[in-house]
């Protein structure tokens, strides 16, 4: 029987990031799809209903929280603890490149071997890295759409993405990306949690993982 010990992995800020990011993504997908296609059509005139305005308001608040979360994660890329820094999980070192391929084989049930590591594996880390990049695109297009006239976001948005319509198109496509990411992320996390006793899911609540104790 292997002996396990508790190891502190995720800092408070990272967990705060995760628990701001995740619910904001959920809210943004639901309200975003509504704004794209307002399916509850109220033909009642002079009513107190502000369905679209309310949905947009929720979307904007969630978008601001989403932006804050992304900025926090960017900070942790460079100033977080050892497991949170970007070079710990990107396939830029020999160790991580090897880990990327072995994780792919392992996830495809082609090998039973896998490397025990406390932080992200290289595959997850790479996916998170690109997700944060896309999140930056998402909040920049969002701010461009929200502040379309004479703001700093207008000039950034117009030079990076072109017209409002082009920004809106990118923003809409990425909405689907985040829905896709959430689904895959939750599945793989549950899958890993079932296969390993490291306590992956609880680690995002309390920050601790379990590792085999050196004997």
């Amino acid at each position: 029987m292997a002996v396990y010990e508790k190891k502190y992995v995720w800092s408070i800020l990272l967990r705060l990031f995760h628990w701001t990011f995740a619910p904001s993504i959920f809210t943004l997908i639901v309200t975003g799809l509504y704004i794209h296609w307002p399916w509850t059509n109220t033909w009642l005139e002079g009513s107190h209903q502000f369905t679209m305005a309310t949905m947009r308001w929720i979307h904007f608040i969630a978008g601001m929280l989403f932006t804050c979360a992304v900025l926090a994660r960017l900070y942790l890329w460079f100033f977080g603890n050892k497991y949170e820094r970007v070079w710990d999980f990107l396939p830029i070192t020999g160790r991580n490149i090897k880990n990327l391929f072995s994780t792919l084989l392992y996830y495809a049930y082609l090998t039973d071997h896998h490397e025990e590591r406390l932080g992200h594996n290289a595959l997850a880390g790479t996916a998170y890295f690109f997700t944060i990049l896309l999140a930056i695109v998402q909040f920049l297009t969002g701010l461009y759409l929200l502040y379309p006239e004479g703001s700093i976001f207008t000039s950034i948005g117009a030079s990076l993405f072109g017209t409002q319509q082009e920004a809106r198109f990118i923003h809409y496509i990425l909405n689907w990306y985040f829905a896709w990411f959430a689904m895959v992320h939750i599945y793989i996390v549950v899958w890993n949690d079932i296969k390993h006793p490291e306590g992956l899911i609880s680690s995002i609540f309390d920050g601790f993982k379990f590792a085999k104790k050196e004997q």
């Binding site: 033909w43 379309p148 017209t163």
Partner: protein, 360 residues
């Protein structure tokens, strides 16, 4: 508005009162305070009228047509009293060799405002648009040399327009893609509102410089704000009342046209405020959504006009197959959900078959 308000007793002339009124409207359109009206009137009545050379390339003459319907001031006042229109293929009395001589003379005299209507093809040496044996790009470069400033009227001259839509067979571009060393202002639209063109001209006459512009070279006084934010149907948008399709109850009650593809939320223009042609209408007020015609590449990005977003070409499926972005998003999500289910199934099957636990 009654046209005769602007006219004098003689057809085609303008009363002093009508003239001042026209100046006041133009001043308001430029976003200038009313104290500026005398200045604008002074500049507009300067006997030294500025020379204007008007070139037409890949275009439908819709921009000129729209200008013909302007009334503040009307086109006769514009070309006879305000400016000296030295060359315009559609409006000039001269034709053929004589017209080309007029152009040559005007260019030699210099000091003119160059107005360009239509896109300019560059592919294969620009052979796809030729006038009097010269290619459009040659004529433009020659005329731009001595121009004080260039006004690109319409979306074609501004951004290339319909001929620049994918796949752009003639390699058409807008004026600002060719001429780099002159002040250029874009007055896009398909067609643009003549008021915006006239206000730009009057701004130039009054201040001897072009008005401030946005990132796409459009004067801010006309293209600084989004249509959506000035739309008379905006309350219906916020309260969630939409026409579901053309001709339904919501459409007849004048509800928001968002769901039938109105591009007002993505388009900058003063259409809801200035409106068109003295009859005080604009597309949305007569029940058709905005097509976004003042935006660069609108033929590519705003089509299908009655859908919210452009379709996505399916990669690898050749030219033919297109689907809406939403359909593709749902399909990707569905395929992944299936993949996840298979993956989970394989895991369970493997464990059942081997009876092994991955961890001891």
């Amino acid at each position: 508005m009654n046209r005769s308000l602007f006219m004098g007793g003689i057809p085609g002339t303008m009363s002093r009162r009508g003239f001042l009124r026209a100046c006041a409207i133009a001043t308001a359109a430029m976003g200038l305070p009313m104290e500026m009206v005398p200045k604008v009137a002074e500049a507009a009545s300067d006997p030294k009228r500025p020379s204007v050379v008007w070139l037409q390339f890949q275009e439908c003459t819709g921009c000129s047509e729209s200008l013909l319907r302007a009334s503040h001031p009307d086109v006769a006042t514009l070309i006879l009293d305000l400016i000296s229109l030295d060359y315009h293929e559609t409006l000039s009395a001269a034709a053929g060799k004589q017209a080309e001589e007029n152009l040559e003379k005007a260019i030699e005299r210099g000091n003119y405002v160059l107005v360009v209507e239509g896109g300019i093809p560059l592919k294969d040496g620009g052979v796809y648009c030729k006038i009097a044996g010269k290619t459009a790009v040659e004529i433009l470069k020659r005329a731009a040399e001595k121009a004080l400033a260039i006004i690109s009227i319409g979306t074609c001259a501004s951004f290339g327009g319909i001929q620049a839509a994918k796949p752009n067979p003639t390699g058409a571009v807008g004026v600002s893609d060719i001429i780099k060393d002159k002040p250029i202002i874009n007055v896009p639209g398909c067609p643009p509102n003549p008021e915006n063109f006239l206000s730009t001209v009057l701004y130039f006459l009054t201040f001897k410089k072009l008005p401030p512009t946005d990132k796409f070279g459009r004067p801010l006084f006309a293209y600084g704000r989004k249509i959506h934010d000035h739309c008379e149907r905006r309350p219906h948008f916020d309260e969630g009342r939409y026409a579901e399709q053309f001709g339904d109850v919501g459409h007849r009650l004048g509800f928001c046209l968002y769901k039938v593809g109105c591009k007002g939320p993505e388009t900058y223009s003063n259409c809801p405020v200035i409106r068109f042609n003295d009859v005080e209408v604009w597309p949305v007020s007569v029940g058709n959504g905005c097509y976004g015609c003042t935006e660069p590449n609108f033929w590519d990005t705003m089509t299908p006009f009655h859908k919210r977003l452009p379709n996505v070409k399916i990669p690898g499926a050749g030219e033919g197959i297109q689907a809406s972005a939403g359909k593709i998003g749902k399909a990707a999500l569905g395929v992944t959900a299936a993949a996840v289910a298979i993956h989970a199934g394989v895991g369970i099957a493997k464990r059942l078959a081997t009876g092994s636990k991955s961890e001891e």
